[in-house]
């Protein structure tokens, strides 16, 4: 199977603070969901932002589908040409657009002529059709999260990056979003890199787990492997 994402000796610092230090890993095309774990401040969000092109590593190279997207401190392919969906920690729904307009934003840019049908379909699938004319501040936290998810999925990205998409949600809604994500992975052949604090869930949901600690990759492997690992920093973190 082909590699879809590759980090090669990437280093990212903010001033003197080296957040990611010379990290390398590869993710294959049919992996499905990859959970990104690590303590607060360990660089999880930064990792996603590097992949999206919103930050640039000062050293190293990142490949998507074998193509170099950035190299030696320069973006070669800008964010909007990487075909990536991103759900931000603060969701970043546009407050002056309705739910419908928010979701249609990316499709309109792709000049899709029947974007209205596509948007309506996903609204129905996510059971938020009745909210389509509401503005983001008229939605509950969970509904906002569904809209953000829908918005990042409609342009059919190859890679979806989610920064704690199910934080602060009740169990029912959390289940629903997880099911939606699982369906999407099965149907659309998409890679999801998901940052989460809930490692029990991560082990259950994802096929691979990437754990960051002190600027390095502390663990990268399948959920089976992480349960049986002898690496002390990992077991301590997972409390198993």
């Amino acid at each position: 199977m082909e590699t879809i994402i590759e980090f090669k000796n990437c280093t990212k610092s903010f001033g003197k603070n080296t957040v990611l230090n010379d990290i390398s890993f590869k993710i294959k095309k049919d992996t499905g969901i990859v959970s990104v774990l690590g303590k607060s401040g360990s660089g999880k969000t930064t990792l996603l932002r590097l992949l999206a092109g919103l930050e640039i590593p000062e050293k190293g190279e990142i490949f998507i589908n074998g193509k170099t997207v950035c190299k030696n401190g320069k973006n070669i392919i800008p964010p909007h040409k990487r075909n990536i969906g991103f759900i931000f920690q603060d969701l970043a729904l546009f407050p002056h657009f309705t739910v419908f307009e928010n979701i249609a934003f990316g499709l309109k840019l792709k000049k899709q002529s029947d974007y209205k049908n596509t948007v309506n379909e996903i609204l129905k699938k996510f059971e938020i059709y009745s909210l389509k004319n509401n503005y983001p501040n008229q939605l509950s936290g969970g509904q906002q999260q569904l809209v953000a998810l829908a918005r990042s999925l409609v342009p059919e990205p190859e890679i979806l990056l989610t920064d704690e998409p199910t934080a602060n949600l009740d169990v029912k809604l959390k289940k629903k979003i997880e099911e939606l994500l699982n369906d999407i992975v099965k149907q659309n052949n998409i890679i999801i890199l998901s940052v989460t604090h809930d490692h029990k869930d991560a082990i259950k949901q994802s096929s691979e787990i990437l754990m960051l600690n002190k600027g390095k990759i502390a663990f990268f492997g399948t959920s089976d492997e992480i349960i049986h690992t002898k690496n002390i920093s990992v077991t301590e973190f997972l409390e198993i």
Partner: protein, 516 residues
């Protein structure tokens, strides 16, 4: 907006601003310091003597007291307005702002009318205390507005966390006051600069201050170098006063826009109607009373004063309207460009243009443009537009920058990930989300420009008639009821413009997402 090409374009516009507006100011200062050294030195000596020294003292007494009083009273009003639940709050807020929207010369005529009517002694009316009083009533709304914006930024949870640990008094002095300190300082400095520049009020009340002194040197004695030497001293005084507080001035948001992500702590006063009464009394005394006096005085004696004044001022309406609107358009566009560039040096440059007193701005523009080579500009209304830009670009840019800062970076990042080009994001995300700030900046620029007298009275070209200049020159020889009638006319003119602006705001900028 970060593609190199747009960046060059934006900097090109900054360069044009620098050459047309900044350069004249710098040249004046350098000229006073170096070229005319000997000459100017003599002038400096004459400055620190007798009458002139007294006018400096008067200027300082007036602007320091006005700043202090406005901040103290403004803080009280801001507190009532933001922290106590009152009926009709939004209307109260709008009425409170009204005196700020009126050109200060109108307010001074109105108050003089009242004092004459009530039989105050002339020695009081035409003296320093009354100038301080009038300027304070004009600028209280400004400090109340800035301080209440900063109080709104104190979240309820911070206050409540404090209250769990200590008394409200401690919370106020240890938590709230330090958090709003930047707003207190910057409103003080802002008001200080505005009142040091003020020319119409002291001149109308025959109080000799530094601006009137410069004006006399310049227009009555045609003594350029003396005026320039005076101007330099006044500018230096302003800079010295501003210097310690410059960070506050640059960092404090002047306005707070949109919905807050946090809750504001309200206090249920035991007797809220007392606060309501305080407010109402303030508004009746300082807003309605002066306006009533204008109405009474202008109908005194002949009933024709109002009609006559409208006739007299008619040519000034269209010129004032067109010039203030077009200046405001320039100011808003420039303000947006400067805010987008987010450059520290640029911030200081704008602060500099604002800190230069208005009369000095006027002299600088004359000296620069009244030359054979540039006379094609000097003879036109472009100089007036330059004067307005130079005076008010700082305030408008601050308002727009505040609006831009309140847009989370993730909005633009989200747009960019979804395939939006920088220009598309600018058009679809940035511009709509700053529209309220842009509108406020535009509105502020118009209102301040209508009231501006000190700079434009120096530079207005023949054939152009501005409301403030026309009333000022006519009032020298007109009977009191005529002056009042002219001010009432100008007041109506300003109110009509405010009204039109509010209608535009409510139709064009209708935002459902703001409601709910």
């Amino acid at each position: 907006m970060k593609t190199p090409k747009t960046k060059y374009f934006l900097w090109l516009i900054v360069a044009i601003f620098a050459v047309t507006i900044l350069l004249p100011l710098l040249m004046l200062i350098f000229e006073a310091l170096f070229t005319e050294t000997n000459f100017a030195f003599d002038n400096f000596l004459t400055i620190f003597q007798g009458e002139v020294l007294k006018s400096i003292a008067n200027s300082l007494i007036i602007s320091l007291s006005t700043g202090l009083l406005s901040v103290i009273i403004g803080t009280g009003l801001a507190f009532i307005l933001t922290k106590i639940k009152l009926p009709l709050k939004n209307i109260l807020r709008l009425i409170l702002l009204l005196p700020l929207f009126l050109p200060p010369y109108i307010t001074s005529v109105a108050w003089t009318d009242f004092w004459l009517f009530a039989g105050f002694p002339k020695s009081f009316i035409y003296g320093i205390p009354s100038v301080i009083f009038i300027l304070t009533t004009v600028y209280i709304p400004l400090s109340a507005f800035i301080i209440s914006g900063s109080l709104e930024n104190v979240s309820a949870s911070i206050e409540e966390a404090g209250e769990m640990m200590s008394s409200y008094k401690t919370v106020f002095f240890k938590i709230i006051l330090p958090l709003i300190r930047p707003a207190l300082f910057s409103s003080f400095i802002l008001i200080f600069i505005l009142s040091v520049s003020e020319f119409a009020v002291p001149s109308y009340l025959s109080v000799n201050v530094f601006t009137t002194e410069i004006f006399t040197q310049f227009t009555a004695f045609y003594n350029y170098s003396s005026a320039i030497a005076h101007a330099l001293v006044l500018t230096l005084i302003c800079f010295i006063i501003i210097f310690p507080g410059k960070h506050y001035l640059l960092q404090t948001p002047f306005v707070s826009f949109g919905k807050k992500s946090h809750k504001i702590k309200y206090y249920s006063a035991e007797k809220p109607f007392i606060y309501f009464l305080v407010y109402l009394t303030y508004i009746i005394l300082f807003v309605f009373l002066p306006v009533m006096m204008l109405i009474i005085q202008s109908t005194e004696g002949s009933n024709f004063a109002l009609m006559q004044s409208i006739k007299q001022l008619l040519p000034a309406f269209s010129d004032t309207f067109l010039l203030t609107i077009s200046s405001a358009v320039f100011i808003t566009i420039l303000g947006l460009i400067f805010a987008l560039l987010r450059n520290k040096i640029l911030d200081y440059i704008l602060l500099f243009t604002f800190a230069v007193p208005a009369v000095v701005t006027g002299i600088a523009l004359i000296k620069f443009y009244n030359t054979p080579a540039l006379n094609f500009i000097y003879g036109t209304s472009a100089v007036i537009i330059f004067a307005f830009i130079s005076r008010f670009i700082f305030i408008s840019e601050k308002i727009i920058a505040t609006g831009l800062e309140q847009i989370p970076p993730s909005y633009l990042e989200a747009a960019s990930v979804m395939g939006a080009s920088p220009f598309y994001s600018f058009k679809k995300i940035l511009l709509p989300l700053t529209s309220e700030a842009l509108f406020t900046a535009f509105f502020t620029a118009i209102i301040f420009s209508i009231g501006e007298l000190s700079a434009v009275i120096m530079v207005y070209p023949p054939g152009i008639s501005l409301l403030s200049v026309r009333i000022f020159t006519l009032s020298a020889n007109a009977p009191q009821n005529m002056v009042s009638a002219m001010c009432l006319t100008a007041l109506l003119f300003t109110l009509i413009i405010i009204f039109i602006m509010l209608i535009i705001k409510n139709t064009v900028f209708k935002k459902q997402w703001k409601q709910s």
